[in-house]
Every structure is written in structure tokens, then in C-alpha cells.
Symmetry: C2
Subunit: 114 residues, 2 copies
DNA sequence: TAGGAATTACTACAATGTAGAAATACATGC
DNA sequence: GCATGTATTTCTACATTGTAGTAATTCCTA
């Protein structure tokens, strides 16, 4: 049985947001993506703390962006998912999916749409 | 945007295990279900601490079982999911699903089977 | 050069995750 | 009937993750 560095719930959302955003992933956009898509309020503090922790575990990486000439205020820090991060996400989601699998057949769940 | 009492990753697994197990859900079986289905090692301490927390939040409830005559060692404590718990689970999983939705179309994910 | 806007960094605390050891309670062998 | 075994829950303690709020940074504009 794998030791498994399981991702927390919010960590999963953050990594998924990075994957969705691709090149354009930095603090503000990650927040917006989660607020809009997951319909869930999040503070920037939460985003950055999580990004930092994921980076220090080697699951994601970051680099500072360049000025695009106009309207740049402060160097953006862009993030991307490393292969270790993909692996961790896949493993965590797989466990969840196996637990959800076939739940439909359980009587008490008929009405809850799982 | 809903305030949302989001369930943690492990809490989700525990509630899913309760739903799967139905009548037969108590500490030991919850552990076994998660170990086998989610292929993930868990201690009993983790299970019980989480069950207690979920109960004190009103998401699940418990009652002590009766002796079945033979082989009973200590009163089992059975658990079941309350409607608040179903609601919380549904909400958490829905957010996750929306974040996963359509991820296939993103190039870097083609090969990771999300 | 003061103020504003976009962005990241810091700080502190709450909630969740986790393991290990202790306690409980009955069954069985001797 | 007492020691030992076994299934189960409870307790304790600590590590990790989740979260908000506030401060700092940097460049723009008036």
C-alpha cells in the first residue's frame, strides 16, 4: 500500500487551477479561477500560502514574469505543475474516484445525485 | 458565493465509506473500506478522530450496537450520514468536479488521464 | 511626490490529518 | 477464577493544511 503524499482538499483545487490556467497562472488568476469555477470564496492569503507549500514540496515551481510594458505593477510570479505534482494529484483523485465508484447502486444515495 | 463548510480530503473518504457500508459502518469497517478501496494506509486513530469531529459538527450520527450473542467483544459504535453530511459532501465534490471538468482538452493533461 | 492599483509576502491562528498508546470488555484455555 | 488474547473504542499529542488579515513592494498617474 503506497505511503502516498495525499493532497489536501484545497491543494487539489489549486493544482487543478494551475493546470487549467497554463501559462497564465499566478496568484490572482488562480484565485479567480477557483472562485468562479468552484464557486467558493477564497482569500489571497490562502492561495499564496498553499502555492508556497506546494512549491517547497516540489510539486509545483515558479518563476518571475517580465514587464509587458504597460500597466505592470509588480513582477508576477507564475506557477506551473511539476510531474511530481501531477502524480500526487492523480493519486489523490484516483482514491476518491474509487470510493465514489458505483455509489449510485446504494439506496440512500439515489436521490442525492452522486 | 456560499460560505461552504468544505470537507477535508480525509473527511470525504470517511463519509463516502459510511455511505458504502450502510448499516455495517463502524470504526473497523470504515478503516478496512478505505484501505482496500482507496488503497491507502490509515490508522484507527485517524478514523475515530475524524468520525468524532464529523459527529460534533452534526454531519453524521452514531449509536451503540447490541450484543449479537456470540463473539461480541465491546459495544460497536455504528455511524450514519445525516442529511447535512450529504449536503456537505455533495457541495465539496461538486466544486472539485467543476474544476476537473473539461480538463482533457488541455494539452499537458492528455497523457495523465484526468 | 503623493496617491492609487496590482500584486506578493508575512504573521498568526483554526481546522484537519495522523500515529501511538491506553482503556474497555468479553471469550477462552488452563 | 485468573491470565491471556482479541476486537474495539478512547485519549493524547503533534504535524500538516486551511484561512484571513495586514503589510510590503513596485510602478503608474496626476
Amino acid at each position: 500500500m503506497p505511503k502516498g503524499n495525499n493532497l489536501g482538499e484545497f491543494e487539489q483545487l489549486v493544482i487543478l487551477a494551475l493546470l487549467r490556467l497554463g501559462e497564465g497562472a499566478y496568484g490572482m488568476t488562480v484565485r479567480r479561477e477557483i472562485e468562479e469555477r468552484a464557486d467558493r470564496r477564497v482569500s489571497l492569503g490562502a492561495i499564496y500560502a498553499t502555492l508556497d507549500r506546494l512549491e517547497s514540496k516540489g510539486l509545483i515551481s515558479s518563476h518571475l514574469g517580465q514587464s509587458d510594458g504597460v500597466h505592470r505593477v509588480r513582477a508576477k510570479r507564475f506557477f506551473m505543475v511539476e510531474s511530481e505534482g501531477e502524480r500526487a494529484l492523480r493519486s489523490t483523485l484516483n482514491s476518491l474516484d474509487r470510493m465514489r465508484d458505483g455509489l449510485m447502486q446504494f439506496a440512500q444515495l439515489m436521490e442525492m445525485g452522486l
